[in-house]
């Protein structure tokens, strides 16, 4: 413990000089910003004028933990169909499409970076958007106007998402996903039959709980639930710009046969 404390204070010492030259920084911070006061954490989730719970804000996490780690030990093995178990055993971390800057799909859009949930009020509430700072610098569009899924959507990276409210919980139903992304960094596979039901509940001011039902009869023996937790960023924080494709040197070192695209960088 003592060693840890010493290490933390050393880092603190390094960080302090950089801060002094960046007065505007706090306003630009995205993501979790150190310990919060207990009183603040205990505040209830805010509401919009019409009484709807307000989930909008900058969040960190909430979709990036490897699925095997969210289940009991060995549980995933009992859920995977034989082909999926075999595939998962054969993959290498370096093959993750995410490292080649491809979109991470509906779960990983919240992983590793700050992200913003946009929940407009009034007439505009027909949509909710999830904006991702990192990786593909992309977004999810959730239709809140009562429409149904199309009968046979062409599969895409984020699929077709429709949402509705069940009391304080936002329920998002997604189909039409392609099978080109990994569900998580562990390489949990899926097929185009994947159907996600996500339940977002702001359990206190700073915490967004996300319970996801993963239903894919092409990959798993039965549907199962996993629970993620996102934490609120600092007040007035912002997402910043991050395009992974800009200067990705990943393939250069791990797989010479699969070089990442090379983009000239202006001086």
């Amino acid at each position: 413990m003592k060693k840890l404390l010493v290490a933390a204070i050393t880092i603190a010492g390094l960080a302090a000089p950089a801060l002094s030259g960046a007065q505007e920084l706090p306003r630009r911070l995205g993501g979790e910003n150190g310990p919060r006061k207990a009183a603040e954490a205990a505040r209830p989730a805010p509401k919009l004028a019409d009484g709807t719970v307000d989930l909008s804000g900058i969040w960190t996490g909430g979709g990036d933990a490897p699925i095997p780690r969210l289940l009991k030990k060995g549980e995933l093995d009992t859920l995977l169909l034989p082909w999926a178990k075999q595939k998962m055993a054969s993959i290498k971390e370096a093959d993750d499409p995410y490292f080649y800057c491809m979109p991470g799909g509906p779960l990983r859009i919240t992983g590793g970076f700050a992200w913003r949930l946009v929940q407009p009020a009034g007439e505009r509430s027909k949509y909710i958007f999830m904006l991702q700072e990192g990786n593909a610098h992309s977004f999810r569009q959730i239709f809140m106007d009562g429409r149904k899924h199309p009968d046979d959507p062409s599969p895409t990276w984020f699929g077709h998402s429709i949402g509705h409210w069940e009391g304080p919980t936002l329920v998002i139903d997604t189909i039409g996903l392609n099978d080109r992304f990994w569900l998580d960094s562990a390489g949990t596979p899926h097929t185009e039959k994947l159907h996600l039901i996500e339940r977002f509940t702001r359990t206190d001011y700073n915490t967004l709980q996300r319970v996801v039902t993963i239903d894919d009869p092409g990959t798993f023996t039965k549907p199962f639930d996993i629970t993620y937790t996102a934490k609120l960023g600092t007040p007035d924080s912002e997402i910043l710009e991050y395009f992974c494709i800009e200067n990705n040197q990943w393939g250069d070192r791990t797989n010479p046969d699969q070089l990442a695209p090379s983009v000239p960088i202006a001086k």
Binding site: A8, I9, I11, A12, G13, L14, A15, A16, P17, A18, L19, G21, A22, L25, R28, L29, G30, G31, E32, N33, G34, P35, E93, A94, D96, Y98, F99, C101, G112, F113, A114, E133, G134, N135, L240, E241, Y242, F243, C244, E246, N247, N248, Q249, W250, D252, R253, T254, I265, K267
Partner: protein
């Protein structure tokens, strides 16, 4: 007010929000934790880019041979949140860099510590696991 304690508290907050380099991927896939390196040289190019920033450092040995090191650092959002900008280390700055050599190409290394000409340390986000 205990000034030292105040500075430490601010710094701790900064340290805890640092998004690790591994936000994009695990650093040990590309770099060798058993090959620590220390390089003294001059910044010759800065790529203020994502998924990660790259600082190129020219080091000259006793025989006058110049080796260009490609040092990888965190993403621009992670560095900006740590107080950096693309101008923090201008080309020509004398630096001492510590890190780990690349698994395939040693001179492609990852940074754990950056010191300026006066020995001043710059904030470097912690490496993930």
């Amino acid at each position: 007010m205990n000034m030292k304690a105040g500075v430490a508290a601010v710094g701790l907050a900064m340290a805890s929000l640092a998004i690790p380099v591994s936000a994009h991927h695990s650093w040990t896939a590309e770099y060798d934790a058993k090959k620590p390196v220390t390089v003294k040289g001059v910044v010759s190019k800065v790529e203020w880019t994502n998924p990660h920033t790259h600082f190129y450092v020219d080091a000259t040995d006793a025989n006058g041979k110049v080796t260009t090191w490609n040092f990888e650092m965190a993403s621009t959002p992670a560095l900006e949140r740590g107080g950096w900008s693309r101008k923090t280390l201008p080309i020509g700055t004398e630096v001492t860099v510590e890190g780990f050599a690349g698994s395939n190409v040693a001179e492609r290394a990852i940074v754990t510590s950056f010191k300026g000409p006066d020995g001043k340390e710059f904030f470097v986000p912690k490496l993930g696991n």
